[in-house]
Symmetry: C4
């Protein structure tokens, strides 16, 4: 190792580039596939206009999912600006984040279908599924910050020592909020869950910007 | 900030690269997904040839949508050649542009379905939907030029001072043209809207090239 | 121009990168979308094995289309290694190549459906459609070589003067072969067209490798 | 060659970049398309919750396929860190790896459908199909290591002489395991095949990490 440090350096730099390119590709595809979840109404001739107006749950679901994935990409982007090298463990944590993110079009589409049909039981089931996947997405971020905090050699020197320490609680907020959304949505009213889902997108978006202004990571 | 300027510079340069890569990915996927909107005719045995000939609205819609997204990518490309750094606000404006662009396969497919069915009411509804989405796409570009005009630190030095000032009116043309298309298409004749849609693609394409020759931004 | 040559240089270098990234994205998506054209058999319980065996036209079509798009990417790759700068005209020619390439999943899927159904009229129609799209793909390459031959400033200096001159006839071979395939497939036997289609993929693949060995462009 | 070495060097470096970008794009799309294989249940109003619980084969198939493609990308990533230049033969071997990988969503979806239906004959057929495709994926890696072993000029100097020699047997393990899975799944019990499939993903993942720790290639 000590006899040829340059190749090691080269290896790791190359890795960061490809991990970012791969992640960018995955996020770009997720965010573009969401449009396929917008239901093309199949109606009798002359009924298209009416059907399009009734399709509002699909447009709302698209908007929420697009913002959510967009914010996830922003967070991922801000995170990797602080990372200098990747090791296999980090690649696996990153794959976990990508793997839970790629699931998003599935619950988003079902959410829209359920609210479009208007059946209360279906709305409940769809809301719980969405909370489950969104909770998994948050859970996938859990190991990232402690791992980077312990492995300083993977991080750019300019990143303050305690920066990642301050982020430990953030995925927990997502997990707790989604558990609350699932329970309120199932036992009380599915619309309460929707409000929490929308609030979580806003929370991630706002903290993403706010922390950046203070020089912290936008996660 | 003044004690370590290099990291800040590095941060921003990296950001531009990934925003471009992400945007390129999104545009590449949109433009390729359009082919999925071409209806595969499901006909009785022996009827494929006839069905393919009747599928002309799908080919026309594909051609128009492909040119539109291609021109949007050209404009985005020309814009980011002038941008040196990105900040969170710029990333959000960019997400707005991408988010409205990814919607394109939806109204394009419905436009083809409506004109394929030949029902006047469906044609009207599809034309209004297309105008709405295309108008949103134009609207998403509205904040970009004023923001860059005010934040010169994000722009390459070689870009003339008043270059973005000259672009303020361009998204407005798109919005007005699409409002006109929606109204003419609904109250007079859906074909009038199609002509305006085609004209807008040609307008964006021609100004994109024309302004480049004068050294201006191709947007 | 003469007062600030560096920015111009920077502009053009950046452009080549993004055009390549965008093209790579489009080719990667086309080649991956082809798998969606493989028909998922919907059969009564217990009939899956039989249905999979009867699905051979889909596997053959996938193989041919994958090789075709792969070879197209190889050619595109070899071409852009020789290009130093891009101008708007070159971007438009490139968009034409991408736009005809993205159509490939459509005729490929229909070809497989027609040969799976076994109806002679449908096979004829599908073969003519495929020849038409494949012919358009070849036609889209027609303006590329003359344009590069005339605009040496866009080409790397190490590329020999007459290299592009030698490529003028290559898209013509594709056009003529596809016209022949359409006519033989329609009037004589659809299988003759399939043989020509397969032969064209082999031709593009072999010349791609052969010309490289002689130091020529792999197109 | 000796008169102009710089262009040759430049050519090959550029090629590696674009081959990696293209491969990253393909893997990113495969891994994201897998979500489309998760069946959207179409049930009578109120039956969504029940249907979602019965959809476990789809979630399991998604998890397995996601891990498999993710591990394949890791292996590809580790391989190309050792490659300095690409020649046409290497590009073709790489296309073979990509072409068999893009097939994955097809058998994965059918596997889930078969186990969801619960018909033994369909489960057998789906298991054999999956083993066939997974075996082809392994077979596509067969020529890679011998070719790199013989063509040292394509490999980074820091890679030990015998590194690729040690990898010859690895694709063979995949082929043999998939043949065993197909035979056990068909003649004994489809669940045995599933266990082997899961075991192969774990094997690839574990060796990928293990070999990296010893400084060897993660393939």
């Amino acid at each position: 190792m000590t006899t040829k440090p340059a190749p090691t350096e080269d290896l790791c730099t190359a890795e960061t580039t490809r991990v970012e390119a791969f992640s960018d590709g995955v996020f770009a595809i997720i965010i573009t596939l969401l449009v396929l979840e917008i239901h093309r109404p199949e109606v009798a001739a002359g009924g298209l206009g009416q059907a399009l107006i009734q399709g509002w749950p699909f447009y709302l679901a698209y908007l929420m999912a697009f913002l959510y994935v967009g914010v996830m990409w922003l967070n991922h982007h801000a995170l990797f600006q602080r990372i200098r090298r990747v090791d296999p463990t980090l690649i696996w944590i990153n794959l976990g984040i990508l793997g839970t993110s790629t699931l998003m079009p599935f619950p988003t589409g079902l959410l829209a279908i359920a609210f479009h049909s208007g059946n209360l039981n279906d709305e409940r089931a769809a809301v719980v599924l969405y909370a489950l996947i969104a909770g998994l997405m948050s859970a996938a971020w859990l190991p990232m910050f402690p791992y980077l905090h312990k492995n300083r050699q993977l991080v750019h020197e300019r990143v303050p020592e305690l920066e990642f320490r301050a982020q430990f609680s953030r995925p927990m907020v997502g997990i707790v909020a989604n558990i609350a959304a699932a329970m309120l949505g199932w036992f009380v009213n599915p619309w309460l869950a929707l409000i929490i889902f929308g609030g979580m997108v806003a929370y991630h978006a706002l903290t993403s910007q706010g922390l950046r202004h203070k020089g912290g990571p936008a996660t």
